[in-house]
């Protein structure tokens, strides 16, 4: 591991101090696999990353490696803490063969059980409640798991290509999106498709529900068509969209007015929802910025991407 601190002058007049941690140059020969997802522990003291290397646990803000856990599959794609903050779900799989979800106890990191029913990798999660988890898979399905019975409660079929993103709306509806360019709203209870929204013109990479939206639920989606679109999915309305200079791979809301987008040019962009504009573009990753995670309290975020890079950046 190679730690270092840098000062970096960002576009405009703002000068920020970045704490940078370049991970994974363990070998001078082989390139490190990309960081595919990041998650902060509920108390904000720990950052967890996943990649083909497995899980890595870092102290925050120091980014000191504290623990490594081997991957349970060839590829790990997603991480998510349960609402009660006592479980960590990790998704992944062996490409074109199977997909699975590993549940760990937090903070002990004790493995609890694995869930597997997919024919391809699990790439995204959404918790419905403490005991129910939605897993999106490249096998074109969403599966609603009951963790108490460790069984699949519902399978949502309808996407014509891999499902890459999911979130849960308060009323009990589930939203998914995927490579078929559609955003779909499902009834969590019946598993029926309620509506499908098709304004994206290329595959969709990510969904993020706005945490404190007033009125109807609000979500954002990021797509290969370089747009981030904002929706009121309960009424099937696309409210507005912003076209970025570079393709966004992952998004995370900062607050109800701004969100972060990690992009394939390695920059993380701050998108203003109300003005549908990019207010800042922050150089972060040498390569693709696959994952962004907002720290719960200290005003910083983490960006991860190509070559195993992880950066801490103050907002």
């Amino acid at each position: 591991m190679n730690d270092r601190n840098k000062e970096r002058v960002l576009p405009g007049t703002m000068c920020l101090v970045l704490t940078l941690c370049w991970l994974g140059v363990g070998s001078l020969v082989a390139q490190e696999p990309p960081i595919t997802d990041l998650a902060f522990s509920p108390d904000g003291k720990t950052l967890i990353s996943c990649s083909q290397r497995g899980l890595r646990v870092f102290s925050w803000p120091e980014l000191q490696l504290q623990k490594e856990i081997s991957a349970f599959a060839d590829n790990l794609h997603c991480l998510s803490f349960s609402p009660n903050e006592d479980l960590l779900a990790v998704g992944g799989g062996n490409p074109s063969e199977d997909g699975s979800v590993a549940i760990y106890a937090w903070p002990s990191f004790a493995p609890k059980f694995n869930l597997s029913s997919s024919k391809d990798s699990v790439v995204a999660f959404a918790w419905r409640n403490e005991s129910q988890l939605i897993a999106a898979s490249l096998d074109r399905t969403l599966v609603l798991w009951d963790l108490e019975t460790q069984s699949a409660v519902q399978t949502f079929s309808g996407h014509s290509r891999g499902v890459t993103a999911a979130c849960v709306l308060e009323p009990g509806e589930i939203v998914s999106a995927g490579h078929d360019q559609s955003v779909r709203v499902w009834s969590a209870e019946s598993g029926e498709l309620i509506r499908s929204m098709n304004q994206h013109s290329k595959p969709i990479h990510a969904i993020a529900a706005c945490p404190n939206a007033t009125g109807r639920p609000l979500i954002a989606t990021a797509s290969r068509d370089r747009s981030i679109r904002f929706w009121q999915p309960t009424i099937g309305r696309m409210m507005r969209y912003v076209r970025l200079e570079s393709e966004p791979l992952d998004i995370a809301w900062i607050d109800e007015k701004q969100l972060l987008a990690g992009c394939i040019d390695g920059q993380v962009r701050v998108v203003d929802f109300e003005n549908v504009s990019v207010s800042r573009a922050i150089p972060a990753i040498q390569g693709w910025a696959y994952a962004v995670a907002i720290h719960p309290s200290d005003g910083s975020f983490a960006a991860g991407g190509s070559d195993g890079q992880i950066f801490r950046i103050d907002l």
């Binding site: 990309p34 595919t36 490249l138 490579h179 200079e245 190509s306």
Partner: protein, 707 residues
Amino acid sequence: MDTPPPGKSPETNRDEAIDFKNDLIPIFTKLGCNAGKCHGSAIGRGGFRLSLYGGTPEADYDEIVRKLGGRRVNLVDPASSLIFLKPAEVVEHGGGAVLVDDDSNADTLMKWIEQGAKFVENRKLVRVEVAPKRFIASGVADETPLKVVAHYDDGITRDVTHLTKFVAEDAAAIRIGSNPITAQGMRAGRHIIIARYSTEVVPIELIVPNFDPVSKLVSEPRPNFVDDEVLASLNDLRLPVSPVIADQAFKRRVSLDLMGQLPAYQRMSDSSRLDREAVIDGILASEEFVEFYTLKFSKLLRIQSKGDKNTVPTDPQAARGFHDWLAEQLRNRVGYDQIAREIITASGDTTQYGPATFYTAVEDARLQTEFATEVFMGSRMKCANCHNHPLDQWTQDDFHGLAAIFSKLTRSKVIRLNPVGNNIHPATGKAALMKIPGGNFLPSDTKDGRGALAEWLTDRKNPYFAKAIVNRLWKSLMGRGLVEPVDDFRATNPATHPVLLNRLAEDFVEHGYDIRHTLKVIAMSSSYSRSSIPVKGNESDNRFYSHMVQKPLEPEVLADAISDVLGVSTRYGDESLGTRAIALRDGAIQSDSLDVLGRCDRTNSCEVAPAPIGPLAQKLHLFNGDLLNERIGATNGRLQKLIQAQKTPTEIVNVFYESALNRQPNDNEIDALTRWIDLAKPAAQQRAALEDFVWSIVTCKEFVTNH
């Protein structure tokens, strides 16, 4: 791509690092992974999309290494990489097992992943050299080894035969062997093998001569260089030639080819000889030539009025104006380069200035790009709309750069500059920069790039312009282009006679881009004068001009010929009765006759000739329809007038043979017709028999083709 891929690996010795562009992409091409029927298709396959034949290695790198969280390459456990497991069919693969564990391709792929799956480009490919480029076999199954050497920008050369994909144009005629890689022609003829390494494609010509030895070609007359080249090719193939046709037949042929009409029949004594050059000169100087070649160019330039709500309208006056302008250029012997320049740079009111109508033929700048390059470069650039052309040099930048030039125009009755017009480049999502195909980008402040385009296109050294038009002129006389289709010039579709094509183009340029000059050169050659009847040994030849190709008459020419022979005119739209079909100034003029005969609707450039044996509906019309039957028996028709003039059946038969076929019936035909038109029968039956005879004359192959 927003960010460049990682640079060369500093940790790995340059010569040990697997080169993504020069080592790996060729493997994908050789295995067929990036072919159009597999992951190279526009939408990819199985969610995995590669650029067609590796045309965009940077995008392929992203697809393989970076997309889907990098799951296709496993840097921790290379042997678990999907990019290896799929082609090795360790996991289910629609394309089957294309990688074998112990082959060198698998080794290279695995080594690349082990090295970190980096985008390494050790050196840039400059060109590839194929040996042999041309192989004349001693006979069927004669084998030749194939070798491909890549030349790089650092001076290094490398044998890349094993990384080269060889594809025979006719897979049944060529056998490609492996270890060592060889080619065998399994059938007599000229065969093309396409060698593809990386982005380079090189054609290999493999000639398997006939078994029968041919002599006498040396003594064949060679009025000009056309025959030198045609006979040299025939000599290689050991193909015999058909004899030169007689003067009457020559006159019919050249009249139909250059004027679009049958010549008047003149009896010639056995001793008299036609001055063929004088005949050609006379035709080329005639108004009929201007009329006919205006029709040909009108078809090429898609001149017709139109007003559908889904199309850019073309006013009838604009269509006629463009037609008349073209006729004026031909009449005044204006060089083709100047004609092209005026068309390309035309602006203004289309009803006032004909050439501006060029910009109402199609709906948008991209279609204009396809249209213009097909017409003036003989090149189908449209593949490059979506991806770099897999079989040619054209890139998306070329296509969209040219479309950007045309996007600066409004398309309506008045063609004018539109400063805010642009063409979005699909690869970048931004307005494409104006660019000369295969050349430079134009300065960003260029308001109208058409001047630069026209200058480049009509430059004496332009490699496309002159060849494209002389190839079309060649086809109009010889029935088949030296490059066929005539709008598909590319390295992988080589000319049957490349030297001849070059010489014709150079000669055309040297003579001021004079269409008449090139037509005369071709028409004066012995090759043009050959009989269409094959001789023993050249029956199967359809591309080397050992005998003339039988050309179906163009619909307009056939319509006029029928009118001339029957002595009854057809009315076209609102034109006055007697207006000839080849003189119509608007391709959209209503005419059931022309539709029945297969008229091209000019939504394309009418480059495909109507089939000699037309579709069923056309045949039924000819058998039963009014086009012939009513006119054969018309009271003002030629047959009725001859009968009224009390001509004998024999005299009537002679008249129709002379007017339709430019010859007199031979003894066998006279014998058969005498029995058919039985003078002992009542007059009504004789008349019916004569009508049947006339019908057979105007529907026989000898009449409906130029042969």
